[in-house]
């Protein structure tokens, strides 16, 4: 074993990495719990990769076979029901944890210098996670997903000039067809994982490079007390804490999959009228409801176009937040209140759809 270690140390910087981690410390304070959200997101991502790879062995990406292949996985493949349910539940939990991570970073101002690139890579990862969700939703080729994708891919059509071309690009034709399914499958299992792996590696590397950020309020308290802040060794303390959280997440996934297996619904019928209650996955509901509530015309422009522009500008502002925020007491307060308002708005819009008022 020792000789294997020596063999490795001669060829790879294993010793340096171990040494770095052994000396690394994680701040300990009343907000430390939020540090685990990123780790949980990573855990769910790994679960997605593993279960996705297993599903790939039986899934067939064509309009004629997709639904039946998922049905086959759930009914005939040993533990197929479990793998598919875990994949679906884990995807949803991952989105939830990613949003929790995003808002905790926002409220704790962890995006400040020198962590600008960590924040930006995180924002790009959030976009990728949502793209994973959007493309994966269609893959079982069921009725609800088919019509929700038809509605979702229609949204860019309101953009002048390039809108119709964007819709064609998304759908692989003028309408959602088997071609769209194949396209989404390719994006879901090849393009997005490829980009995601690179971005995730960058993000994790940057987190390791800069360490965990201490919130401004804790920094001030430490300064006032004139004593060094409390911290925890990364190895093994923090890693074991993280492992505890991952194991809890695994138990939750297993329980959800066993007691609430993910439904398959009925096969998509492209000629059938749209069923009642079409709606996207829960994490798109706030945007879906906004698009429904926006008036047909806003300042003489198409309402839907205005909403799309507003979403895009909002996303861009979030991406550039570390550059925009001057890191003064006032600016930090503005960011906190804006984040709280955004969170409240998203929750209210989602609630409106879920209680049926948005229909």
């Amino acid at each position: 074993m020792a000789s294997l270690g020596a063999w490795l140390a001669e060829r790879a910087p294993v010793g340096e990495i171990v040494e770095f981690l052994r000396h690394k410390r994680v701040p300990q304070h009343r907000y430390s719990l939020f540090y685990y959200a990123g780790g949980a997101a990573l855990f769910f991502f790994i679960v997605q990769v593993v279960t996705g790879a297993l599903l790939l062995m039986y899934y067939r990406p064509s309009a004629g076979e997709a639904f039946e292949s998922v049905q086959f996985i759930m009914a005939r493949v040993p533990f197929g029901w479990l793998i598919r349910s875990i994949h679906s539940w884990s995807a949803n939990l991952m989105v939830g944890v990613v949003f929790a991570h995003l808002f905790s970073v926002l409220f704790l101002k962890a995006y400040r210098r020198p962590r600008e690139l960590t924040w930006m890579s995180g924002m790009l990862l959030l976009g990728l996670v949502l793209a994973f969700g959007f493309t994966g939703y269609l893959l079982p080729w069921n009725q609800l997903a088919f019509f929700a994708t038809r509605v979702g891919t229609e949204i860019p059509s309101s953009i002048p000039w390039i809108g119709p071309s964007l819709v064609r690009l998304l759908r692989g034709g003028p309408d959602v067809t088997g071609g769209t399914l194949t396209r989404f499958f390719g994006v879901h299992v090849a393009i997005l994982p490829g980009i995601c792996t690179i971005l995730l590696a960058t993000h994790v590397l940057l987190v390791q490079r800069h360490g965990m950020s201490t919130p401004p309020s804790i920094e001030q308290e430490i300064e006032a007390s004139r004593r060094p802040g409390q911290s925890l060794p990364f190895l093994p303390h923090y890693v074991l804490h993280d492992l505890f959280g991952w194991t809890l997440a695994l138990a939750l996934l297993a329980a959800l999959s066993a007691f609430f297996p993910w439904e398959l619904g009925t096969k998509a019928d492209v000629f059938a009228p749209a069923p009642a209650g079409i709606r996207p996955e829960w994490y798109f509901l706030w945007m879906f409801q906004t698009l429904k509530l926006v008036p047909a015309k806003v300042f003489g422009l198409e309402g839907e176009f205005v909403a799309v522009v507003a979403f895009s500008l909002g996303g861009l502002a979030m991406f550039l937040l570390p550059v925009i925020d001057r890191n003064t007491r006032t600016s930090r307060r503005i960011v906190s209140w804006t984040a709280a308002a955004l969170l409240l708005y998203m929750a209210a819009m989602t609630w409106m759809v879920l209680r049926g008022g948005g229909q």
Binding site: Q71, M74, A75, W81, L82, S85, L232, P233, P236, H237, L240, H241, L243, F244, T247, L248, L250, A251, A254, A255, A258, F259, F260, P261, E263, L264
Partner: protein, 395 residues
């Protein structure tokens, strides 16, 4: 003076007759402008015909209404001409007028009775729509309403000694439910049994033939049954005796028995010779229904637990189909073929039950598996927690 009295009497009679004739038609009279507006949507307008096609005695802008008694013949002048009609629609029938003459309406109008229906009473006069148009008064879902305009009106029916109740009775029937609630346009409405242009009530001996147009198997079994001869000898209408004519409700398995005043119990008590057959048929149907209900309940539970139970659902559908067959086979008034049909249904229901039980067992297996996994995970978590505590104390 006498002359004046005669003139007054003649004028009064003329006015009275005119008023009576006007009251006979359910179509209100229209002005020329209204007629032109209605004609814009008329199938005849679409075919290129104009006002003069029917109003051949027009004077300038004045179009006299065709005489009521002459309307069927007027319509028939084109609609019986096969070579003329096929230029508009090669599929269109051209026997409406001869059929009308065989109807009660047609026979009465030939006798000069103007209070019976003519073409325009059912089809309209100026806004005639194709029978395939859901807005047309003769579209299947609208036929009963159209007939009811006269046949549900006691004032119109009493002079002919006809009841005005059939439309109301039909509206409560299984046929009305199928047609109006499920929009099943193959379900029978008035014209399906009575005919449309040749409308007439079927004779007692013909009722079964009319019902047999749809209920083929029931009629076939009944004809071969001992009941056929008996009903004929007593001049009892075959289907109507048990099912009524217009107010046909959904038959119940409980009719096969001696309770109440319906089904077998209408004429028999359990002292008759065939009582055992009736009881046997009823038991077979009850057993099958109980098995279907149990399978449906357990399949539902398995489905709610997230199981795929397609095979069970298919078997349950088969069992339900066999129950329909068994219920139809009751018309043989014998133990067979109902017993065989019910036995096949029972076998399918048991297959569905077995599938449901297997699925529910699988649910239990999964839960037990999860419980075992949870014990291991919990054990690991406790160990990890203890380790973390020890580490924290050491710090």
């Amino acid at each position: 003076m006498k002359m004046r009295v005669r003139l007054l009497a003649v004028s009064g009679w003329l006015l009275g007759t005119a008023a009576a004739v006007l009251a006979q038609s359910p179509n209100p009279s229209v002005t020329a402008d209204q007629a032109r507006a209605l004609f814009q949507n008329d199938v005849h307008q679409a075919a290129g015909l104009t006002c003069t096609a029917c109003h051949d005695q027009a004077k300038g802008d004045q179009y006299a209404a065709p005489a009521r008694a002459g309307i069927p013949k007027l319509c028939g002048s084109c609609h019986t001409n096969a070579s003329y009609m096929k230029q508009f629609n090669p599929q269109l029938r051209v026997d409406q007028y001869p059929r009308y003459l065989t109807s009660t309406h047609g026979k009465q109008i030939t006798k000069g009775e103007l209070r019976v229906a003519v073409c325009s009473d059912c089809h309209g006069a100026h806004g005639i729509l194709s029978v395939k148009d859901p807005r047309a008064p003769v579209y299947p879902t609208n036929v009963a309403k159209t007939c009811a305009r006269c046949h549900a009106d006691p004032a119109r029916m009493t002079p002919f000694n006809k009841p005005a109740t059939p439309p109301e009775e039909w509206s409560q029937s299984v046929h009305a439910k199928a047609l109006l609630e499920r929009n099943d346009t193959s379900a029978p409405t008035c014209s399906t049994c009575h005919g449309s242009h040749g409308a007439a009530p079927p004779d007692v001996e013909n009722v079964a033939l009319v019902c047999a147009q749809c209920h083929v198997r029931e009629a076939e079994l009944f004809r071969k049954s001992p009941k056929k001869k008996l009903f004929d000898s007593l001049a009892m209408p075959e289907c109507v005796t048990c099912h009524s004519n217009h107010h046909i409700v959904e038959p119940q398995d409980s009719w096969l028995g001696f309770e109440g005043d319906i089904g077998c119990a209408k004429c028999h008590d359990d002292s008759i010779g065939g009582a055992d057959v009736i009881k046997g048929d009823r038991k077979a149907l009850d057993d099958l229904s109980a098995a279907i209900a149990a399978a449906s309940d357990r399949l539902g539970r398995a489905e709610r637990a997230g199981m795929i139970i397609d095979d069970g659902r298919a078997a349950l559908r088969e069992a339900s189909d066999q129950r329909v067959l068994a219920r139809v086979s009751m018309h043989a008034f014998a133990a067979q073929p109902l017993a065989d049909d019910a036995a096949k249904g029972l076998k399918s229901a048991q297959l569905a039950l077995a599938d449901a039980d297997a699925a529910l067992a699988e649910v239990q297996y999964r839960r037990k598996g999860l419980a075992v996994a949870t014990i291991f995970i919990a054990g690991f978590l406790v160990t990890l927690g203890l380790k973390i505590r020890r580490l924290n104390r050491g710090e």
